[in-house]
């Protein structure tokens, strides 16, 4: 019993208690507060539901949301309860004006509408500024309001989707702080799920991207568009709608209009100021993600030709899209081959898009109706480049040429030419000759390559790597094979070749490797040099002359 204990001890105990107490107390208080708040909210909400007198509570609740100054710490419970309140009100038709209603009724409706607007703005603010969990919750609540409004307010379609609330939601999603979660949630739960949401997202996006935006924003837009990769076919049944659909509105159920919206959205993005890397990545997904959406792919022409003219890797990437247009849409691209020829520059064979380019080049040059002079120019240019190319690239080039020689027999003069003109022969014997090929000519029809010979490949026949050398040797052997399958040669790398030579781990060597029979007298030093009369001529002298060890 505390009364029986001496004062001092009781004091001590008290102080001790005071010292240890507050945390648990505070927690208890916090819990109490929370419970209290919950009950308050519940009470307020009930009052609203009960009678019109309770409507004033809406204002109270809105003030409790804690979004006046900044929406960083919103009260999500209040938001949820408000969502319930408004859903109920909307469903009850309390937000719709009827012309015959009394004046005071009209005032109430107008007041409620205003509050609803406030609430919507609050939600948008939360989405823009709050933490990830609240953002996602706010998104769900907003979409719920959207649904309710569409369901119960006649003629709200235009209001909500194109100009009103959804536009704000969309902008908030795109511009939200740390919005990765929000965006992925929005895409996964709504945009991909519901066809009407997707439709209006496209609309909003086209609208949104029509003004110049920063690359980061564009990145987000591209990502969202990229995830919507299921292009509806012409007989696609549109059934999965988020909100009640106005049956008069036929646009939502037509695949064409869907695609049109997507096309608009893509075009808006493509016209925006893209960074170089974005351009490349867009070009990379052109065929699979972008082109299918387009009703009129020719609209891509501008973008593709622009990209093609940029040069370098971007041009390489634009090639396939451009080729598609030329082939399917009858695009007339004058100087296509000239441009293609100009792409064969010193960097090409060292580029990581090498195999991609060669695949395309193979398609472009596969026609047997191409002039031989043009094909010869390509062959000769490639041969020149091969002189400075890494082994994996040489390995592609030679079979590539072989196939050309097979398809365009006239070009085989580049491997085998006997001079029949006596005078010319005498002149060549006397003075030798220059390469008739003009490497600086940009028109592949005028390079005179067909008069030249492939000395470069003959040089590569003594390439240091035996496999490359033996591949280079195919052009001087009889052409018995119909064609080499290019795919087999395309994707080699240094690492792959090293692994091919060395294996992943040691297996049994089948034959005893040869060892140099003579042990050299010197490797690094000038050991015993005086015996050879001071002149270093043994093996490895080259290194010793250049380097001092």
């Amino acid at each position: 019993m505390p009364a029986l204990v001496t004062d001092s001890s009781s004091k001590k105990r008290k102080s001790g208690k005071n010292a240890s107490g507050p945390s648990s107390k505070r927690r208890a208080v916090a819990e109490d507060n929370f419970a209290e708040k919950l009950s308050t909210i519940q009470e307020l909400e009930n009052q609203i539901a009960e009678s019109r007198k309770g409507y004033n509570n809406i204002a109270t609740l809105l003030s409790m949301l804690n979004v006046e100054q900044s929406a960083e710490n919103p009260e999500m419970t209040v938001a949820v309860s408000l969502c319930r309140v408004f859903s109920r009100l909307i469903a009850g038709g309390n937000l719709t004006e009827s012309s015959r209603a009394a004046e005071n009724e009209k005032i109430i409706v107008a007041w409620l509408k205003e509050r609803c607007l406030d609430y919507q703005n609050a939600l948008v603010a939360i989405m823009r500024e709050a933490d990830a969990a609240s953002q996602v919750a706010a998104l769900t609540l907003s979409m719920r309001i959207v649904k309710e409004r569409l369901a119960h307010i006649p003629g709200a379609e235009n209001n909500v989707w194109s100009t009103g609330f959804f536009k704000d939601i969309f902008a908030a999603i795109i511009e939200a702080d740390n919005g990765q979660d929000l965006q992925s949630e929005a895409v996964a739960k709504f945009v991909k799920e519901y066809e009407d949401v997707r439709y209006y997202t496209f609309t909003q996006m086209a609208d949104y991207a029509s003004t110049t935006r920063s690359p980061e924003i564009l990145e987000i837009l591209i990502k969202i568009l990229q995830t919507c990769d299921e292009v509806p076919g012409p007989e696609h049944k549109f059934e999965n709608f988020y909100a009640k659909r106005d049956t008069k509105n036929k646009r939502l159920v037509s695949a064409n209009s869907h695609r049109k919206q997507a096309q608009e959205a893509w075009l808006a993005i493509l016209r925006n100021n893209l960074s170089q890397s974005q351009r490349k990545s867009l070009l990379r997904m052109m065929v699979h993600n972008i082109e299918p959406w387009f009703n009129r792919p020719e609209l891509l022409m501008d973008f593709l030709t622009d990209s093609y003219n940029v040069g370098g890797a971007t041009s390489l990437l634009a090639l396939s899209g451009l080729f598609y247009l030329i082939q399917e849409k009858n695009l007339d691209y004058p100087q296509f081959y000239t441009k293609l020829y100009s792409l064969l520059d010193s960097e090409l064979l060292h580029s990581k898009h090498r195999s991609r380019f060669f695949r395309l080049l193979n398609t472009f040059l596969s026609s047997t109706h191409l002039p031989s002079t043009l094909v010869a120019s390509f062959i000769k240019r490639l041969a020149r480049l091969a002189l400075n190319a890494p082994p994996p690239a040489i390995v592609v080039i030679v079979p590539f040429m072989y196939n050309f020689f097979k398809n365009h027999p006239t070009t085989t003069f580049m491997m085998h030419r006997s001079i029949r003109d006596k005078d010319l022969l005498a002149q060549v014997e006397k003075e030798g000759m220059d390469d008739p090929f003009d490497p600086n000519e940009s028109d592949p029809n005028m390079t005179n390559a067909i008069e030249s010979s492939l000395w470069e490949i003959v040089t590569l026949q003594s390439h240091f790597h035996p496999n490359v050398a033996s591949i280079a040797r195919i052009i001087s052997e009889q052409f018995t094979k119909q064609a080499y399958s290019l795919e087999d040669f395309l994707d080699h790398t240094y690492a792959g070749m090293v692994t091919a030579d060395l294996g992943v781990e040691e297996r049994n060597l089948k034959k005893i490797p040869v060892v140099e029979y003579q042990i050299p007298k010197r490797i690094f030093t000038d050991r015993l040099l005086e015996e050879d009369g001071g002149v270093d001529s043994g093996p490895g002298c080259f290194m010793r002359n250049l380097w001092e060890f």
Binding site: S346, R384, F489, G496, P513, L546
Partner: protein, 908 residues
């Protein structure tokens, strides 16, 4: 024309004795008495049946239509069904079904039953009497036999206590002393006991052979069962007999040996060479005897010999002698000129071999035959990879984005390579120089015994101990604290442990000692040990090179020479170790080679021929260098230095074979462009220009002069700007002179113009930008290289001709004449594709079997149906019978009742 049917019938009847001369009554009576008559009757029945069958045309199946053209059909010569007798086969099948299927049918839905396993119950050839007799015999036999080892009921002397297979009893008269070492007896004893044990679980045939075992030796009374006692007596007698025989043989051997022993002293003397006429055949004789002898006896002989000392000695000497090589006539001592000539010949041959390898030709077929297996992929695969034909992997073994190194565009910048330590001591120990002097003499003659040259100081201790001791003395004087024996290390760690306390300068001595101590001739296991040691040394070279403090290169050189000489004896080990190192480079640091890697690559070029078209180690080493040159990034001067080193190394690799290396040109031109005082504004050619990450541009000044590059430059960058400039200008001159050497090496290449036009442009640009700004010493190499390249270019222009590659003989058109087979047999299959032929055969067999099985099943089904019908009929008949019987009974009763009634009525 054959006789009529009637005549044939009569003839056959007479033949079979059915018709014959009439027998007299007396005879008949006699026959009936003896029972011959019944037998005859049986015989006659059989014969008659056969004749009936033969003369029934429906019993024999004939082909109703003869085949038209014998030649065209395969079946023409086989008379299908010609001699078939369908009736017979049918009845046989019926019989068989009755025996199997019917039984099964009857026992269907029935559980249990009795299986008669009594002896002879299912053997129809035995009469009941015979069966009974046999059963009785077996039973008595079983009783007589011992049922188990532990059956104590019958006393017997068979059970004996043994130890190691030898009997412990001494009471028998036959248990001689000599049995103690008698192996054969032990074995036979073992065998019998084993057989004995097997008896209880033996079944019929084992019993049978058990009987054989016991019954051997007395065939005179096959019918009578022997009593147990008799059997045992026999066994004992037999074993006695054998033992006596063995004893006899042993005595004989003993005699022979004693005789030989007497001759032994003579033999020894003959061997010592006192008697010139040592007969080499003599020692051979006993051995031959040995081999002829039965092995047990030989073993026995040996054992008993070992017990006696002199005999043992004799034996040992004998064995030694058999292993000794007989002396052969030596070759005539060659004169000096002949030796030199031979040596020159050998070197010439080796050089020729190298050249052939360089051209990628096959070497002598004895060692090269498995080359093809490597190169040619299986053609059986449905999809032939064109690339695989050239030795390229079927598809890239690694996916592209894995390393970041894969993409030639993106380069990894690694700061690790910039080392700041700059105190590489390059002092050279004097102690090992002495040894260097020593083995220099043997260096002159790199003979086949070259592997010994590096360990010549420490010769084999057994051979020439005096010489060894003196040399040991010398080395001891030089380095008093070094141990003389070292264990052969098993891995690199243990080698590091050994050399931890040893000064760097002493390492060659340590290696030398290890090699001497573990010379393969000393111990059979040493060869493997040294092989392992060679691998360790390879590892050690790159380890030493990577140490921040660079070891003196004389030491490294010595170690590499050691590796080289080890590589001659252990090429596989050295190759494996080098490949492991290269693999590590390729996996971990393909784009920033460490100094150790560079040293290893340099060393590698000395002990493997880099000129070979394909070499298991040199080719990957090439590739490593090329990859480094092609993809590395330049961030600092040290990078540039190591790149320059790699470039010069790659050029040294090509000194002999003169192969073209695009990466070299790319790298040197890039490096020169980066070193140039101002960045070139225009592109000079097809080489891809890569700017260095950190600026290495030369600030031209007259203060610095180019010097010879040092290996140290690879690891360390000087801080002093003056020294940096010096290094830059030296790198520049070195690179320029490298290009000059490259132009010499590749002067013969057909595309020389194309390769070196950009080079000239770069050099001209350099000359332009350095003009008047640096010493002439730096200008001079540029000028001279330009001059060299210009002259080569002019030369190339002169010899340039259009290509004339396809001057081949035209290929023969493939012929389509069918192959003519002599003695063609339509029954045989001539499919050259074995697998297809085999599969066809199997298909055919399968079809036949399938048809047969279906036929059988059909027949079975009809049989079952027939049987069921028969059963049903039987049942019906029985029922009918019963019904009739009942009706008849009732009728009779009725009749009787009627009669009675009638009677009663009548009575009334």
């Amino acid at each position: 024309m054959p006789p009529s049917q009637l005549k044939q019938l009569k003839a056959s009847l007479r033949e079979n004795g059915v018709l014959g001369p009439q027998k007299s009554k007396k005879e008949k009576r006699q026959n009936t008495k003896t029972g011959v008559g019944a037998k005859n009757r049986n015989q006659r029945e059989v014969a008659l049946q056969a004749i009936r069958d033969r003369f029934n045309p429906f019993e024999i199946k004939t082909i109703n239509k003869s085949s038209k053209f014998d030649v065209t059909t395969r079946d023409g010569n086989t008379t299908a069904g010609g001699g078939a007798r369908p009736g017979v086969t049918k009845s046989l099948g019926e019989e068989r079904r009755r025996a199997t299927l019917l039984k099964e049918m009857n026992s269907r839905n029935k559980v249990g039953g009795l299986v008669d396993r009594r002896f002879g119950e299912n053997d129809p050839t035995m009469t009941p009497e015979e069966r009974a007799a046999e059963r009785f015999a077996r039973e008595s036999q079983r009783k007589m036999r011992k049922e188990s080892m532990f059956n104590l009921e019958d006393d017997d002397d068979e059970m004996q206590l043994t130890h190691m297979g030898q009997s412990l009893s001494f009471d028998g008269p036959n248990q001689d002393d000599f049995e103690a070492g008698d192996l054969e007896d032990a074995e036979s004893d073992e065998e019998t006991s084993r057989k004995r044990k097997r008896i209880p679980d033996g079944d019929e045939d084992q019993d049978q052979d058990q009987e054989d075992f016991i019954d051997y030796g007395d065939e005179e009374q096959p019918g009578r069962k022997k009593t147990k006692a008799e059997v045992m007596k026999e066994v004992i007698a037999k074993s006695k007999f054998y033992k006596a025989e063995r004893q006899q043989a042993k005595d004989d051997d003993e005699d022979l040996r004693e005789e030989l022993d007497k001759e032994l002293p003579d033999l020894f003397e003959a061997l010592r060479g006192v008697k010139p006429a040592a007969k080499p055949a003599k020692p051979e004789a006993p051995k031959q005897d040995f081999s002829e002898m039965n092995p047990e006896r030989a073993a026995m002989l040996e054992e008993s010999q070992n017990s006696k000392d002199p005999e043992k000695e004799y034996d040992q000497r004998l064995r030694q002698m058999t292993f000794d090589q007989r002396s052969k006539p030596t070759d005539r001592t060659k004169t000096e000129e002949e030796k030199v000539e031979e040596e020159a010949e050998r070197l010439k041959k080796l050089e020729n071999d190298r050249l052939r390898r360089m051209r990628g030709e096959q070497l002598t077929d004895d060692e090269e035959d498995n080359m093809d297996e490597d190169e040619i992929p299986d053609d059986d695969e449905s999809e032939i990879d064109d690339a695989a034909h050239f030795g390229l992997p079927a598809y890239p073994t690694e996916t592209r984005p894995e390393l970041g190194v894969e993409d030639e565009d993106d380069f990894i910048i690694d700061e690790d390579l910039v080392e700041t330590d700059s105190n590489a001591s390059l002092d050279m120990g004097d102690s090992d120089m002495e040894e260097e002097e020593e083995d220099s003499s043997s260096d002159e003659s790199d003979g086949p015994d070259g592997e010994d040259e590096l360990i010549n100081g420490m010769t084999l201790p057994t051979e020439d101990s005096a010489a060894a001791s003196t040399v040991a003395e010398v080395s001891k004087e030089a380095n008093g604290k070094l141990a003389f024996t070292y264990p052969c290390p098993k891995d690199h760690e243990s080698f590091l442990g050994i050399t931890k306390s040893v000064a760097v300068e002493e390492i060659p001595t340590v290696i030398q000692r290890i090699r001497a101590l573990h010379h393969p001739r000393l111990k059979p296991g040493n060869k493997d040990k040294l092989g392992r040691f060679a691998e360790i040394l390879v590892e050690h070279v790159s380890y030493m090179g990577n140490k921040t403090e660079q070891p003196p290169f004389a030491i490294l050189e010595n170690i590499i020479r050691h590796i080289h000489s080890l590589a001659k004896t252990h090429p596989l080990n050295v190759t494996i170790a080098c490949r492991a190192q290269l693999r590590e480079i390729g996996k971990e640091r393909p784009l920033n080679l460490l100094p150790g890697d560079l040293i290893l690559l340099t060393g590698l070029s000395t002990f493997f021929p880099t000129s070979d078209h394909f070499h298991t180690t040199a080719t990957p080493a090439h590739l490593c260098l090329a990859r480094y040159l092609g993809q590395c990034t330049t961030t600092s001067l040290a990078d540039l230095a190591s790149g320059t080193f790699a470039a010069s190394l790659s050029l040294q690799y090509q000194q002999v074979s003169k192969r073209y290396m695009p990466e070299f040109v790319n790298y040197t031109l890039n490096a020169l462009c980066n070193l140039a005082p101002t960045e070139p504004a225009v592109k000079f050619g097809a080489f891809p220009y890569r700017k260095s990450q950190g600026s290495v541009q030369l600030a031209p000044s007259k203060k610095v002069t180019p010097r010879k590059l040092q290996f140290r430059d690879v690891t360390t960058t000087p801080f002093d700007p003056q020294a940096q400039e010096e290094l830059k200008i030296s790198l520049l001159t070195t690179l320029v002179s490298l290009l000059g050497s490259a132009s010499d090496i590749w002067a013969e290449k057909s595309a020389f113009t194309e390769i070196f036009t950009p080079v000239r442009a770069v050099l001209q640009y350099l000359r332009q930008s350095l003009k008047g700004k640096v010493y002439a010493a730096a200008q001079e190499p540029i000028q001279s290289t330009l001059g060299k390249i210009d002259s080569h270019l002019a030369q190339t222009r002169l010899v340039r001709r259009p290509l004339f590659l396809h001057d081949h003989k035209p290929l023969a058109i493939k012929t389509a004449i069918p192959k003519f087979e002599e003695n063609f047999n339509p029954d045989k299959h001539y499919d050259p594709d074995r697998e297809r032929a085999e599969s066809n055969r199997l298909k055919k067999e399968f079809k036949r079997e399938r048809k047969g099985a279906m036929r059988e099943l059909r027949k079975d089904a009809s049989f079952v149906a027939r049987e069921q019908l028969r059963e049903k009929k039987e049942r019906d008949a029985e029922y009918e019978k019963k019904y009739k019987r009942l009706v008849a009974e009732i009728q009779s009763q009725e009749g009787r009742a009627a009669n009675e009634y009638e009677r009663a009525r009548g009575r009334r």
